[in-house]
């Protein structure tokens, strides 16, 4: 998929663990792992909003479009 999820980069910048972030945004670590590894097929606006709020970033910092 040409959409790349840079969540792990953002998490490393903010020095936050998967478990902590999952707990803060209210999703399971398994789902966060799906999101981080790029296996997710869609992201809810509500989830994206919470991630941006917790990591203090913009959606564009997490999602990137690259032509195949």
């Amino acid at each position: 998929m040409p959409i790349i999820v840079n969540l792990d980069v953002m998490m490393a910048k903010r020095k936050i663990s998967s478990m902590e972030l999952a707990e803060r945004i209210g999703i399971t670590t398994a789902n966060l792992s799906i999101l981080k590894t790029g296996k997710a097929k869609a992201v809810r606006f509500s989830t994206l909003e919470k991630i941006c709020e917790e990591l203090d970033c913009q959606p564009g910092d997490i999602l990137e479009f690259k032509k195949e």
Binding site: L32, I34, A40, K41, A42, V43, T47
Partner: protein, 153 residues
């Protein structure tokens, strides 16, 4: 009180009963074919020829197809019992059922060369195979939608 589990149990029992009946039926095919050749009205392109041997071969082929269908139904019911409904394996089962019905239908169409009445059975089987094929297509899309839903975070 009637519930989902009892309904599933009934379906499994009926599948097993059908398998048993198919086995019993298989023993009577040669005798039945001879009897049918004797009593049937010879209408068809090869009406003057003896229908016994082709009928035995085609009926056994149809029984084999019936076992394929029953095995697929058994797998489907097992998966449903394990709460795995929208999975690719079930789509394969439906595809198998569809092809088995279609092949049985085409074999019946061949038998119609000897006795035209089998055109009716051929039509029914091919029609049922077509219905199952459409159902398989619907199921295939449902599996995709389920996977999309599962991977929406």
């Amino acid at each position: 009180m009637w519930n989902k589990n009892k309904s599933l149990f009934l379906s499994r029992i009926l599948t097993d009963v059908c398998a048993g009946l198919a086995v019993i039926f298989a023993f009577f095919v040669p005798g039945g074919a001879e009897w049918y050749n004797y009593i049937s009205e010879p209408i068809g392109f090869l009406a003057d020829k003896n229908v016994t041997v082709p009928m035995i071969i085609i009926i056994y082929f149809c029984i084999a197809m019936a076992f394929c269908v029953l095995w697929s139904l058994h797998k489907l019911l097992n998966n449903i019992a394990n709460e795995k409904v929208f999975i690719p394996e079930n789509t394969s089962c439906l595809r198998m059922i569809s092809w088995a019905c279609m092949l049985a239908g085409f074999s019946m169409a061949v038998l119609a060369l000897w006795r035209a009445i089998f055109v009716f059975f051929a039509f029914l089987l091919i029609f049922f195979g077509l219905v199952m094929r459409v159902l398989k297509n619907v199921f295939e899309n449902a599996v995709e939608i389920k996977s999309e839903n599962d991977f929406t975070i």
